[in-house]
Every structure is written in structure tokens, then in C-alpha cells.
């Protein structure tokens, strides 16, 4: 089944070399599979020797400076909106569009923002949303991925293709019909309704299936010989081995659902269920025009938890992506 390995999803690290070592690779000067598989420099085909040593060193240091400058410039550009948010949120309103170094600092914007909308409730809603959604995703995706990875049952491949359909046809584009469904279920305007369409995540199933497939069969069989049941093996063997994948997936899921807007905007109507993003929009789309001081303060408030978490766990964050082999 072709879809099985390359549905365009992330590939697991161990598969890369084998896969690219297939016959009929394109004719290139360098043969990447040979290089990556063997790691033997001697195997590298001959390259054109176009520069002398000194030439290259000169180029490198100049190139290095250029690269550093480019990296920093890009970084500056990318951090600019956040930097602006900090500036405006911590300064009085008169300075929201003027960048005078002497501007006094204030926390008043945060106080005003906090008073102007029930952010505490919004936070609670968002927290419930990401927790419930993630918990359901982890359970459902683990079970389904396990079924796909280690059970052969009739119709498996067809069902797998059906699952992968969701990678493209995401709940985000089916808003009209899903709204109808929620209305029929009588759960409009609830936190559960926001998370429900996302709980069976094709991305999660696919990711975990790929990971589970890399667990050596021998381990599996050894456990079976010891009399472990299917679920015990899942819990004792597969889940622990997939830990980095779980972490990476959890981070993606949490940031996705914390930041999701359009669907929550549609299904929620009241303070009791609105997540922070919708609360923020309701709050900033007043008749009286934009007040950036308060909006940026509210922005920092709403994205604060994720931002702090990210700052604290930055290394782990990036690492778990890498270790998960999502590439």
C-alpha cells in the first residue's frame, strides 16, 4: 500500500536512509543516500575543486559575518511585533505609537484590561479546552495508532486512508456542517463542542503509528511470550518508547487549541464557554475604535502562559521535535 509510507506525513528517522536508497534515484553528482547511509567520507563522489584554501577561508569569514547579520536582522524583524506589544503594554496610552526612550513605565494597561473583561473565566475555559482536548487526543490516537501499527484486520488499509483524509479536510473547513451537528447534539456554546471535532486527530494517529511501527518486533514478541496482553504491552512497551513523540504532539496540540479562533468564535456565545482568543476579539472589536495599549496588554495576558512555558522549556520544546523525528 503506497499511502502507508509516504502520505506526506512526517517520516521517522530510521526510515530515511533505506527509503532514499531505492533504485532509480535521480542522477546527481552527489548521491545523497550513499552519503547518509555510510557516513564514509571516502564514498563521497569527487567534487569540483573551485577554490583554493585561502580563498575559501576568506569567503567563509565574510560569509559568516553576512550570515550572522542576516540571522539577526531576520530575528529582529520576527520579534518586532512582540517587542511592540511589550512596549505599548507597559507604557501610558500617549506612548502607544511613539517610541520615546524616556516614556514612564506603567502597569495600568494590564489592570484596565483585566477589569474590562472576565479574563479569569476565559483562561479557565481555555485551560479546560486544551486539557480535555489533549487528554482525549492522547487516548484515542494511541489506541487507534496501536491498532494500525500492530494489528492486521480486514479493512485496515481502507480505514487508514479514511483517517488520513482528515489531514487535508480539517474540521476548520467544515464549520457550517459541524455547527449543525453541535446544534443537533444540543452542546452549542460549551467547551466540549470546541474540542470535539479535533479529538480524533489524524495527525496524532499517523505520528504515533509511525513511531509504534519502529518498535522492534522482537521486543513485542518477547513481551508476548511473557504473557503480556495487548493493552499491557501498549502501556508498558509502546507508550514509554514514544515519549518524545507524545511531548512534541502535546506541544503542537496545546498551542493549536489555545490559539484557535474561528471555530470557537462560531460555537461559543457566552462567557461561560469562550476561550481567551474569542474573549480577546469580543473585547477589542468595540464601537469606539482600537486602543492598542489595552489590547497589547490583553494580548500579553492571553498569550502569556504559552509564552512563559515556551521560554522556560525552549530547549525541550525544540529537542522533542527533533527527537520525535518529525521531519
Amino acid at each position: 500500500m503506497r499511502g502507508e509510507h509516504h502520505m506526506g506525513g512526517p517520516e521517522m528517522a530510521p526510515q530515511t536512509p533505506q527509503r532514499s536508497a531505492r533504485p532509480g534515484t535521480p542522477v546527481t553528482l552527489l548521491d545523497p543516500p550513499a552519503l547518509s547511509a555510510s557516513r564514509e567520507t571516502r564514498d563521497a563522489p569527487r567534487l569540483r575543486d573551485s577554490f583554493t584554501d585561502s580563498d575559501r577561508r576568506g569567503r567563509l569569514s565574510f560569509g559568516w559575518a553576512l550570515e550572522t547579520a542576516a540571522a539577526w536582522l531576520l530575528g529582529g524583524l520576527w520579534i518586532l511585533p512582540l517587542a511592540y506589544a511589550f512596549w505599548t503594554a507597559f507604557h501610558p496610552r500617549e506612548y502607544s505609537t511613539r517610541f520615546a526612550p524616556t516614556a514612564p513605565l506603567t502597569l495600568q494597561n494590564f489592570v484596565s484590561a483585566w477589569d474590562a473583561a472576565p479574563f479569569a473565566r476565559y483562561f479557565l475555559n481555555s485551560f479546560l479546552l486544551v486539557t480535555i482536548t489533549l487528554a482525549a487526543q492522547l487516548v484515542l490516537c494511541t489506541l487507534a495508532a496501536y491498532a494500525f501499527a500492530r494489528f492486521s484486520f480486514r479493512g485496515r488499509d481502507v480505514v487508514f486512508v479514511l483517517v488520513l483524509m482528515q489531514l487535508m479536510v480539517m474540521p476548520d473547513v467544515l464549520i457550517v456542517e459541524n455547527y449543525r451537528t453541535m446544534s443537533r447534539l444540543g452542546i452549542l456554546d460549551t467547551v466540549v463542542a470546541i474540542g470535539l471535532p479535533y479529538m480524533a486527530s489524524a495527525f496524532g494517529i499517523f505520528l504515533l503509528r509511525q513511531t509504534f511501527k519502529t518498535v522492534p518486533r522482537e521486543l513485542d514478541e518477547a513481551a508476548r511470550v511473557e504473557g503480556a496482553g495487548f493493552l499491557t504491552m501498549l502501556w508498558k512497551l509502546y507508550v514509554p518508547l514514544a515519549k518524545p513523540v507524545y511531548v512534541a504532539y502535546a506541544l503542537v496540540s496545546v498551542s493549536y487549541h489555545w490559539n484557535n479562533f474561528l471555530w470557537p468564535l462560531i460555537v461559543t456565545n457566552s462567557v461561560g464557554s469562550r476561550p481567551v482568543t474569542v474573549g480577546l476579539q469580543v473585547f477589542s472589536s468595540g464601537d469606539q475604535g482600537v486602543d492598542w495599549s489595552i489590547i497589547t496588554a490583553a494580548t500579553l495576558l492571553t498569550s502569556g502562559p504559552l509564552l512563559v512555558a515556551f521560554l522556560l522549556f525552549q530547549r525541550q520544546f525544540v529537542q522533542s521535535f527533533m527527537r520525535a523525528g518529525i521531519r
Partner: protein, 294 residues
Amino acid sequence: MRLPVGIRAQVYGWLLLLPALVLLVTFTHYPTVTTLYHSLMSTPKGARPAVWVGADNYHAMAADPVFWQSLRNSAFYALGTIPISIALALLMAVLVNGKLPGRGFVRLAYFTPTILPMIAVANIWLFFYTPGYGLLDQVLGVFGIGSHNWLGSRASALPCLMAVAVWKDAGFFMIFYLAALQGIAPALGEAAAIEGAGRWYVFRRVTFPLLMPTTLFVLVNAIISSFRLVDHIVVMTRGGPDNTSSLLLYYIYDVGFKFWDTSYAAALTMVLLAILATAAIVQFAFLERRIHYQ
């Protein structure tokens, strides 16, 4: 009494799958089918029930200039944001993969847009684009360039939204490239360098081909995100001026939840589904083969 292994595998397999499958069918496959069904019905209103209207909604769509405009915009948006954000992501990954002073900070800077809510940053970008005293005009003003009505002109509204999307996505895609780059043995590059190859040459002939699966994965994500994310439009332009920045999903939202014309919205959704399905087929059938079996 135990069931034979083969049958047990069947039963367990389906049981394990069942919970996810029920939800998946309810919120992906069933609505896809009902979208088609409702697109062939009229919208019920007050005491008037929905009736079968056949292709009426599709005829209306063919005659609807806003639909065509949104479709064109979506195509332009996708073709603009996808290559740029992927190229930038790759550039960023390469930059922060090497030795760089302040690498941690730069990585952080690239990645933060990903974790900020689009709805919030859109308000900030709204300030950047504000004519006169907005940041962009303040900066351009230093160079003696007069103010421009960025979001209020036909030509610049959509590109401005695209810039926000690129800014938001590039850092996210960078992570995948970074992960992939770190998986490539450094010996490769060194080897090539010893052989005297230029860096660009090594990148082009060694690194980039090795990154192909990643590029494919990122491409899929980029396509999805270009059709899925319209939060910034809600804040920044509401599709204006004169629909020049309206994307297909935003128009669906307008029709479905402001006009309450759910049947027409269903017909529009069918178009979006068709686009996504085509993208999926092209990707599976064509790109996969090119990359692996060429």
C-alpha cells in the same frame, strides 16, 4: 475459551480503533457528505422548510463575483505564502543550525510567532500597517517615503495579510527543517568541504535533496494552513476593500454565519473541499513519485 489469534486480532483491532473512528466519521466524513447534500437544498427560513433545488446553489455560485474574487484571492494567497514561508523556514533553519552568536535568542525570535494567537498579533499588525503613525510608515518616513494606506488599498491589502501569514508560519516550519538538519550527519558537509565544495554547492546538492521528505511534509502543512487560517482577516480587513482580501474560507464564514445562507455556504465549502482533495491527490500521486522513484 479463547478465540483464534487471527479473529482476536480482527476484534481487538476494530475495538481499539472504534472510539477514534466514531469521532472522525462524525466530524469529518459525515459532514463532508452532508455538505454535498445541503448544497443541493435550499436554506430553510422561518416557517419555510428546506427543499431540493438541485444545482441552483452552484449556478448562483458561478454567477457570484464575490465567490470568484475570493477564489482568485485564495489562489494568489496560497501561491504567495507557501513558497516564501518554506524558503524562509529553510533559510532560518540553516542559519540557526550553524554556529551563531546568540543562537538561542535568534531561534526564539523565529519561533515565537507560532505560539502567539493570530487574533492577538493581527491587532498588533494592524498598528504596523496604520497609515501615518503606524510603524511601517514611521520607518519609511525616515527615508522620506510618504505614508501609504496599506490595508485600505486594493493592491496592498492582500499582500499585507500574506506577510502576516508568512511571519506566523515560517518559524513553525523552521522547527521541522532544524530537526531534519540535525539528523543529517555533519560528516557529510565536512566531507564535501574537504573536497573543496562551496557551501552553497553542498547545500544544493547534498543537504537540500536530503531534506526533501521534510519539504514535502512542510508543504502539506503550508497548503492546509493557507486555506485554513483566516483569523487575521477578521481583525484586519474583514475581506475589504471591496472583497480584495477575502479568502474562500472567510467568505464561507460570511455566508454561513452572517447571511445565514447555510446551503450556499455548503456549496462554497464543496469547492474548498475539492481544492484540498486535489492538493492531496497531486501530492500523493505526483510529488511522492518524483521524490522517491524518479
